[in-house]
Amino acid sequence: MRNPIALGLFAIFFTAVYFASFMNGWALFRFYPLTNTFTTADLPRTAGPAMGWYAWIVQGFVAGVVASFLAHLIPKSWASRVWSGWTAAGIISVAAFMFYVEWHWFVGK
């Protein structure tokens, strides 16, 4: 793919949807490491801890791919005016918000 706007939207939507999924507990499936099981069902507590990380990645990736396809609808005259560093700036913004959300681990609240 040679469209920087599409690549940028892929990155931003990937990270944003991944992190939104993490924050809200949206997971199309979960992995239960104790029983080595991938499942869409919520298993009882006896099944051990559930991991949503793999699902969040898949969900973020799919959102990124969809967004990158939609980027082709953006007129080229608009796309050429966009600063090329916006993707990194967007990722830094999501990362800053992530640090804010995760800060509770370090202050014991």
Binding site: M1, R2, P4, L7, G8, F10, A11, I12, F14, T15, Y18, F19, F22, F31, P33, L34, N36, G48, P49, M51, W53, Y54, W56, I57, G60, G64, W83, S84, G85, T87, A88, A89, I91, I92, V94, A95, M98, F99, E102, W103, H104, W105, F106, G108
Partner: protein
């Protein structure tokens, strides 16, 4: 035993990745050939573009390795850290798992500005992308190393 070998491989590949991205980062930010001590001149005067594919391949390999050993971390290490009330360590690792995904998402743009369109017009974007990937790699290696010292697999 397999998990221990995988953890070792994961760590070794991460070390290679840190080396590659750090070389590229220093070279990307220098504005002119670096004068002075020979070590620093050699460190900065590398062919920056040649590191791009190596960084991408190593990054993907390290993430795949990490995702394979991650369940063992959840069962063995995270549970111990929770029992010991080492919340900062758990938080640092949680940030690491998010950062690793953010870096994965940024790789196509990172590659674009190094390999497809490396014109001077995009120099700042190239530097920013490389800096973000480098910070993610450094954080991940540092946290992984510290957690392994606290409780290895």
């Amino acid at each position: 035993m397999i998990i221990t070998i995988l953890l070792l491989l994961h760590g070794l590949l991460a070390m290679l990745l840190v080396g590659a991205i750090t070389h590229q980062l220093i070279a990307a930010w220098r504005n002119a050939p670096t004068p002075g001590v020979q070590f620093f001149r050699r460190l900065a005067n590398v062919n920056t573009t040649s590191y791009t594919n190596a960084v991408i391949l190593l990054y993907i390999a390290v993430v795949i390795g990490g995702s394979i050993i991650y369940p063992t971390y959840v069962i063995d290490v995270k549970a111990s850290l929770t029992d010991a009330q080492m919340l900062s360590a758990i938080g640092a690792f949680e940030i690491k798992e998010h950062m690793a995904v953010f870096g994965l998402a940024l790789l196509p743009t990172y590659r674009y500005f190094w390999s497809v369109d490396n014109s001077p017009a995009h120099a700042l974007a190239r530097k920013l992308n490389t800096t973000v990937v480098a910070l993610i790699v450094w954080w991940s290696l540092g946290v992984g190393h510290i957690l392994n010292n606290i409780k290895g697999l």
